[in-house]
């Protein structure tokens, strides 16, 4: 069995890199007494696998994590905690609350299930990601026009840095959805659904297309979609909206 967890990452913690997120989650799992398992070998590591890595500085409502559980850890359909949680039996909801509390402000577990292992890894099965981002100081009308032009044509040419080299690429194939969704105090808000195959297309690549020379404000991943029997679906549907505890 495994835990499949969907969590959010919002506010100041968007600046934490994904390797650091792994460390943070590992500590939280231990604090809650989740019956985690370890790799073999000289330097055993906690077994867990994340979905697609989120670029540093991006927010997310849809980060995923699979944690394999030790076989004897499900008792009467409940999770038998170990370590610092020894003696506790948690159902999914209780575990979700406990993990959310153990994570730092800005991280929130929005869905959690215990399920049999199987299926491809999240990294392999995710086909597209949903994004929401704003463009600093751009003019809404112009962005709207740019979107229309982009979708009407067969080419969306972008430039990105790859090992200190500028690579030009037509990413029209990977743009499934692109539209304006009002304005924030920073600028126009854009919603996009972008391909994760063969590589993850980042919203930042679109900024130059939509508002040449402008800078991206805050970007947030809203969904990760997987293909299941010909249908696109989310690995987990949130059971609540993410909580962003306010900063003082």
């Amino acid at each position: 069995m495994r835990l499949r967890i969907r969590f959010s990452k919002m506010g100041k913690v968007r600046f934490v890199g994904h390797r650091d997120v792994a460390r943070i989650v590992e500590r939280a799992l231990r604090r809650c007494g989740v019956p985690i398992t370890y790799s073999e070998g000289f330097s055993p590591r906690v077994r867990m696998s994340f979905g697609l890595a989120l670029p540093t500085c991006y927010e997310s409502e849809a980060e995923y994590l699979d944690v394999p559980l030790s076989p004897d850890s499900i008792v009467d359909g409940q999770i038998a905690c170990i370590g610092w949680g020894q003696g506790k039996l948690h159902n999914e909801q209780q575990m979700q609350i406990a993990l959310s509390e153990a994570l730092p402000t800005g991280f929130d577990v929005v869905a959690l299930t215990v399920e049999p292992k199987g299926g491809g890894s999240l990294q392999e099965t995710v086909v597209t990601c949903g994004w929401k981002f704003d463009i600093l100081g751009a003019v809404a009308r112009e962005v709207e026009d740019a979107i229309e032009r982009a979708l009407a044509g067969s080419e969306i040419e972008t430039e990105r840095k790859k090992k200190n080299e500028l690579v030009r690429e037509n990413i029209r194939y990977g743009v499934y959805d692109l539209r304006m969704d009002g304005e924030s105090e920073r600028g126009p808000i854009v919603i996009a659904e972008l391909s994760a195959k063969p590589r993850v297309i980042r919203p930042s690549e679109l900024v130059d297309v939509l508002a040449p020379g402008a800078e991206m404000g805050i970007a947030r991943r809203t969904h990760q979609w997987i293909e299941h029997e010909g249908q696109w679906q989310e690995p987990l549907t949130p059971s609540k909206s993410p909580q962003l505890k306010e900063y003082s």
Binding site: V13, G17, R27, R31, P44, T56, G83, S248
Partner: protein, 651 residues
């Protein structure tokens, strides 16, 4: 209170590792703002990754935030990319807790744990929007304080710092808070700064350099004298008598991004009396104060549960010397909450088999590196520095380690020690090769890393009179060893840049005149001098020339008994004549045993302050007072063959 976050946030995507500027650590205090309280900004003048784990800073942070009349936030030196962003966007130094500007605090307190951070201190003061020179700051500006080991020679920083704190900070911060609180309540009117500084001189352990005047006779320092009759002639360090009263930090900060020492750290004792003569920490933190084993266990247990860490470090200057080390280690490993997955790291290990036994026990979960510090290659040299580790001790330790599954270990050495000759330097290679040979009896993979540091004499140690080796000489010794070890693929030699030792030498034993040098280096872009990619000796050489000061005089010259030293008015408890005698003993090759378990030498650290060692066990741990199995009954004379007295200075 003002939060700079809205202005800071847009800059963060442009810098490396932005997580170091966001705060949000578990254990951070963000709702501590008390409008009428004395506010402290505790600043570590190096990067977040280096500064965050600092235990001293975390202890004071917690203690201050527990008080109704104070609160504290933290700040770290922004990396160069962030500094550029801050300067071009007009953003001042800020706290990471609530992102308030530094200028809004009553006190900016710096932790000085290394001399090469001094230019960063100036940079932080400047980034805060304040004049770097204390004399040019206004009445209502924050007071700039500094503490930590380097504060024991405060003189090079006296132009910039308003007050220094000597010794343990736990108690003295309360007194400073009260005094500064009164100033705060007065509204800080014109002329009040002078008064609060004068009042601070009345607190034991606090040194206010502007209340003292340094006089010179040519280049020679004549003395540092108080300007007013009520200002004490000398400043005595503060020492907490019993660590059991201070179980801090209770809520160690858990950072969101990886830092050095990224684990639970529990201080098991403070002070060390092994008497290694090069070691400033061992001299200035006396006496030994052990934390009760039960309290250590509780701090470890609660700390692991609270943080979720799977590694704990039992910190001290010589961890294997803790009276109950085995009990504490076993208890920690068997703690049910850790599921047997906890690793315990033991920094500053003694060189003996007992130590390896403990280390083997702790590495059941994950094998960590093993590091020994014989410090010098030859026995003659180790007697001079009073690191009384015999070759047999080392080989026994090494054998024990290889036989228990380790493949490699690290050996720390110093070079440029008093009276060191080439045969002493080369003896390092012999030791390392012999260690590898022992290892090869157990594993084909056996290897040893030799880490070589250039010795910089430190104030308040018996070696404070010694003329430091020139960097060319240190370089020659490194090359000598490198050449000697060139063909041995199993011994890896690493060394610190000898040039950095020269800059460290200028600042470590400098007087007030060196302030000009530090300012010059800073004004010419010399920040992050601890980082090899930013260190630049030519900056320091130019600064010395511009200030008409002589590197030879400050760094490489031997001092004599009667010379007034720049820190003579600062007292770490140690009598100057004790240190001089120990210097003479060093040159004569006399070792001095650990006074924890042998009669008192009256160094002054206990007797001056009416305190004593707090040691749980009256018998030394396995292996004798220095881990050498010496016969303790003969008193302080170490039963070893002595060579004829070596000449001062050596090579």
């Amino acid at each position: 209170m003002t939060s700079l976050w809205p202005r800071l946030e847009p800059l963060l995507p442009r810098v490396e590792k932005p997580a170091r500027y966001i705060g949000c650590e578990d254990g951070a205090c963000t709702d501590i703002y008390k409008p009428d309280a004395t506010s402290w900004l505790l600043t570590y003048p190096d990067t977040y990754e280096i500064g965050l784990p600092n235990q001293g800073l975390q202890i004071l942070y917690e203690l201050l935030n527990e008080r109704p009349d104070a609160f504290a936030e933290r700040s770290y030196a922004p990396w160069t990319d962030m500094e550029a962003q801050m300067r071009s966007n007009g953003l001042p130094l800020f706290s990471v807790d609530t992102h308030r500007p530094a200028e809004e605090f009553d006190i900016l307190a710096f932790n000085l744990s290394a001399e090469l951070v001094y230019t960063n201190v100036l940079n932080c003061i400047d980034l805060a929007g304040l004049a770097v020179r204390a004399s040019q700051r206004g009445d209502a500006d924050p007071l700039i304080g500094a503490g930590g080991h380097c504060a024991y020679n405060p003189e090079p920083l006296t132009d910039f710092i308003d007050f220094f704190v000597m010794g343990d900070g736990e108690e003295v911060i309360a007194e400073i808070t009260t005094t500064v609180g009164e100033w705060r309540k007065s509204g800080k009117p014109p002329g009040s700064r002078e008064n609060v500084l004068r009042a601070l001189t009345q607190i034991a352990g606090v040194y206010v350099p502007s209340m003292y005047e340094a006089t010179y006779d040519g280049t020679k320092l004549v003395g540092v004298q108080p300007k007013h009759p009520d200002v004490p002639v000398s400043v005595q360090k503060r020492t907490v008598a019993d660590l059991a009263d201070w179980p801090y930090p209770r809520n160690q900060l858990v950072p969101l991004t990886e830092v050095v020492h990224d684990r639970l750290n529990v201080e098991i004792f403070r002070g060390c009396t092994r008497g290694c003569r090069f070691c400033q920490a061992g001299m200035i933190t006396r006496p030994v104060r052990e934390r009760p084993a039960s309290q250590v266990r509780e701090m470890v247990s609660k700390g692991l549960e609270r943080t979720g860490y799977d590694e704990v470090s039992l910190t001290s200057l010589s961890t294997a010397d803790f009276s109950n080390i085995e009990e504490v280690v076993t208890g920690t490993i068997d703690e049910p909450g850790t599921c047997g997955r906890v690793s315990v790291s033991l920094p500053s290990l003694r060189v003996d088999a007992f130590t390896v036994g403990v280390a083997a026990q702790v590495s059941r979960a994950r094998r960590t590196g093993l590091t020994f510090a014989p410090e010098a290659g030859s026995w003659r040299m180790r007697q001079i520095i009073n690191k009384l580790v015999t070759e047999e001790d080392l080989y026994e330790a090494v054998r024990s380690a290889y036989s228990q599954g380790w493949h490699r270990m690290k050996l720390y050495f110093l070079t440029g020690l008093p009276s060191e000759m080439d045969e002493d330097t080369l003896a390092i290679a012999d030791l390392a090769e012999n260690c590898v040979a022992i290892g090869q009896e157990y594993t084909k993979k056996a290897s040893v890393t030799v880490s070589l540091g250039g010795f910089v004499p430190k104030p308040h140690t018996p070696f404070q009179w010694f003329g430091q080796n020139e960097s060319a000489e240190l370089r020659r010794k490194v090359e000598l060893l490198r050449e000697r070890l060139r063909r041995n693929k199993r011994v890896h030699l690493k060394w610190h840049a000898p040039e950095a030792s020269t800059a460290e030498g200028i600042t470590s034993r400098g007087d007030r005149r060196v302030g000009r040098v530090i300012e010059h280096v800073w004004r010419h872009g010399g920040t992050f001098q601890e980082w090899s990619e930013h260190f630049d000796l030519t900056l320091w050489e130019e600064a010395m020339r511009a200030s008409e000061l002589d590197i030879e005089w400050y760094v490489h010259r031997h001092r004599d008994e009667n010379e007034v030293l720049p820190w003579d008015h600062i007292h770490a408890g140690l009598h100057k004549d004790f240190l001089w005698q120990d210097w003479q003993d060093a040159l004569a090759g006399f070792g001095l045993e650990d006074c924890r378990w042998t009669p008192c030498y009256d160094c002054g650290a206990c007797t001056e302050y009416g305190i004593e060692h707090v040691v749980a066990s009256p018998v030394p741990p396995n292996g004798g007072s220095q881990g050498t199995g010496q016969d303790l009954a003969i008193g302080h004379v170490v039963p070893v063959d002595l060579r004829p007295r070596a000449e001062v200075g050596g090579t």
